[in-house]
Symmetry: C2
Subunit: 361 residues, 2 copies
């Protein structure tokens, strides 16, 4: 018997570090940042050989449903959350709907806004994860770290389960620089990329164990019919929920079970050119460089200017005698930012919000 | 008998250091750079109490005539040069036309794109210059230098003629830094602001003496009817002329006459907040500053950014963690330039021209 596989794409992010191209009504996942299709289309295209369209789910915020449907059509199930409650509630919502459809289904949970260079290797990793999920593991994908990043969570691998699969010794939140270096040098740590594979039934059992309020709300919602009960029922059960991530709410406590109840938490080591495209600095790596190291998307003219990242959606950006800047012209706004500060672009968005400058959000 | 006074505004410049707001079809003089009316309107408004509208002349390039007429209406005489030949030919053209109208007229020659803070003092200076012009002097206005600028010409004053008027000892082209400092410290040097006052007949006599080819072409053109002979005649006589400035072609050699033929060359010392607005760096001084020293025209948001100059004609410019930049968003182009390089913005315009990027010129 073939087990049905579902894909759940988490697409509720705001992508504020990619302002001004990423806007409230058309955030990062609805943009192409490296050229070609939008990130959400790329995400679905990557898993489509494993997951038929009628088993693809998009969990996003209410206000993005229309834009996503316009982009993707009606085939994926598109669910609009009435408010952002982080990943655990979104996953519970999706898992309960999938269980109704396929009691034994495996679900792959994916962020909608990451870049993956080697799609074949990525799918091979997912297939391995599905095999583990069928043995009742909660599976996370661990990326071979490329540098001692302090912005990522890390996964310490434990027992070797063969074929790049390991039990998880522990999850580690964003480390300081020194710790991150130790992690990378040890060879035992992997980046947590937020990609999960499990049976819908397995994750619901763990949610029942570790997040009982969420479990209860989900069960009551399903007793009223779940999605079929309409938007008002969803708001009723969803809005009172606490914000909590699946990592913090389930994966970390589950990884601390000794001995594990069921099969425990496993990680599949993946090496497929993963990039979470966290900022313009990261996106810039995908733009062609001129001789002075300026990386440009769109039309730019650079005179005695070096090592800048330029994104120009309309017209021209001209640089003279500047270096290490991020310059983005998109819609009604222009961003000029030092490259070292690219992570902080969302602070500008906060300022705009505070100043009621809605037309630029 | 009241002597008729004419004003000749030289408005053929391209203002390329003010790209991207200043464009080929709407250069600096047709823009407002410090707020309010366009620079050419400001120029005319300043002299209007001395010169009635029907004695105001605009000398510009052919392709700007329509735009200037749209702005100013039909009252000033607007003459389009078929090509830029620097100031001496433009002045000969205007002087010969003025002589036809008023044989004894005094003409005030003014750049169209300078800023003057104290208009009353400016007009007082011009009135003094007119008095000298009536005594057959070639008069230039010398500005009290505010700093040892190396980009300006300097005028060394000679004999005191009373009431802030002096004979001219000599003209000095753009000096090096050390020389400029000596000039300023000596108290004997003034900036040459390109503002001249003379009888039309006096300057034509000097053109006859020092620029005989120009004189001959002007005379032959007038024998055919001058402006009334139409654009073809103007092209015929004007296009073969050499490019030469009135400073180099007439004022300098005339100031070397010992003893002067006629009354010689005089300078009126003026102190009226003159600014040639040579670059965005200069224009920025007129924009309000925030606490971090950012000077902004238009809408900007600055976060941990200091001492920048921002001009935003549409939408928003947002700065994060940058300093000492000039950022200009105007029309289809964005300029990002280090403040120290503001003088070199015209090099970008040259690059655009070389690259046939006409839509940005």
């Amino acid at each position: 018997m073939e087990v049905p596989i579902h894909a759940v794409v988490l697409a509720g992010g705001r992508g504020e570090r990619f302002w001004p191209r990423s806007r409230a009504a058309r955030p990062k996942q609805l943009q192409s940042l490296t050229g070609g299709r939008t990130m959400i289309e790329e995400t679905l295209a990557r898993v489509s050989p494993l997951v038929p369209e009628n088993r693809q789910w998009i969990i996003t915020s209410e206000d993005l449903v229309a834009a996503i449907r316009a982009l993707l059509g009606d085939v994926p199930r598109i669910i609009g959350e009435p408010a952002g409650r982080n990943t655990a509630p979104a996953i519970a919502l999706a898992a309960s709907e999938i269980m109704k459809q396929d009691a034994s289904a495996v679900m792959i949970v994916l962020p909608s806004d990451h870049h993956i260079a080697d799609v074949v290797a990525f799918r091979r990793t997912l297939e391995r994860a599905v095999e583990l999920a069928l043995k009742n593991y909660l599976v996370t994908i661990g990326l071979v770290p490329q540098s001692p990043e302090t912005g990522y969570g890390y996964i310490e691998r434990g027992r070797d389960l063969g074929a790049n699969c390991f039990s998880v010794e522990r999850f580690r939140e964003k480390p300081d620089r020194k710790t991150a270096e130790d992690f990378v040098n040890s060879g035992r740590f992997l980046w947590n990329g937020g990609i999960f594979v499990w049976k819908a039934g397995t994750i619901m059992e763990k949610i029942a164990a570790y997040l009982p309020d969420l479990y209860r709300a989900t069960r009551e919602w399903q007793e009223r019919g779940g999605l079929e009960a309409g938007a008002e029922a969803l708001r009723h059960y969803f809005l009172p929920l606490q914000k909590i991530s699946i990592d913090y709410g389930v994966m970390e406590p589950a990884s601390r079970e000794r001995p594990p109840v069921g099969s425990g938490v496993a990680v599949v080591r993946g090496d497929f050119g993963w990039d979470d495209l966290g900022s313009w600095e990261a996106a810039g790596r995908y733009y062609p460089a001129d001789q002075a190291g300026n990386r440009v998307s769109g039309t730019a003219l650079a005179l005695e200017a070096a090592d800048n990242i330029v994104v120009c959606d309309q017209g021209l950006v001209a640089l003279l005698g500047v270096r290490d800047l991020v310059v983005v012209r998109s819609g009604n706004a222009v961003l000029v930012c030092h490259r070292d500060r690219a992570q902080e672009v969302r602070r500008l968005v906060e300022e705009l919000r505070r100043g009621n400058m809605e037309e630029y959000l």
